[in-house]
Amino acid sequence: MSRTPLWTSARTARALKNSAEPARSSASPPKGGDAFSYRVAGAAAGIINGLFGGGGGIALLTLLTGRGKLDEKKAFATCVATILPLCAVSAAAYFLRGGFPIAHALPYLAGGLLGGLLGGKLFREVPNLWLRRIFALFLLYGAYRYLT
């Protein structure tokens, strides 16, 4: 039987014990502080997405994982779900500005549909380290684009 190392402080052990418990049921409301920080993260994502037409997921993911409250994989998937309506708004704004090249977009949309289905099925098997590394490369490329 594995044991908690003796050198773990009581506070750390308590915090880790709480984090090792199964995920909170979706029926139970989040604590006030948690709900507030989630709203702040959502607002930051919305502002960035609205201003730049994308990139809101980065702020959301950084805020969700940075404070260590959410498991990485859960944070990535939840981020996709949260960003979806934000992107719909950005897409609507783009449409109002000048319309969509629908005919040109169709092969990409069909590919995205298939890729999304495959991605959903494969997500469980992907190591967290891979996700983090791919995401980091994407962030650094984004930084290069914005800073140059």
Partner: protein, 136 residues
């Protein structure tokens, strides 16, 4: 055939990454502008539109596998959507280039943080969490 097949193939590959939330859209944008000769403005429009089905079809699997945190979703999505709407309208009337540098620095910081995580601490914390979990 080639005109349709290559975009479809690239859309599929980047769709997988988009459904994982790791920046498939940016890669698609890059492929479209660098390799497929798509105009930048048109590529941005396609990119925005393509994310919607790619993300939407992956959500049932994420939910089935227990990866969606409904507390976060309920708290962040409504206010995020409202802010996106307000910022979209704002972007029409202000020069957003002033935000480029701070946002670029934020990306650089986040990228560096994700590329060089504190492995030792993480492993230590995970091992303790697992040991507590096994004891139960």
């Amino acid at each position: 055939m080639k005109e349709w097949f290559l975009p479809f193939l690239i859309g599929t590959a980047t769709g997988v990454l988009s459904s994982w939330g790791v920046g498939g859209g940016t890669l698609l944008l890059l492929c479209m502008t660098l390799f497929l000769g798509v105009d930048q403005a048109e590529a941005q429009g396609i990119n925005l539109l393509y994310f919607l089905p790619a993300a939407a079809v992956s959500l049932p699997a994420h939910r089935r596998n227990g990866y969606l945190d409904m507390d976060v979703l309920r708290a962040a999505a409504p206010i995020g959507t409202l802010c996106a709407l307000a910022a979209s309208l704002l972007s029409l009337s202000i020069d957003i280039s002033i935000f480029r540098i701070p946002f670029g620095l934020f990306l650089l910081y986040s990228g560096a943080l994700n590329l060089a995580p504190r492995k030792g601490l993480r492993r230590y914390r995970t091992s303790i969490a697992k040991s507590i979990h096994h004891e139960k």
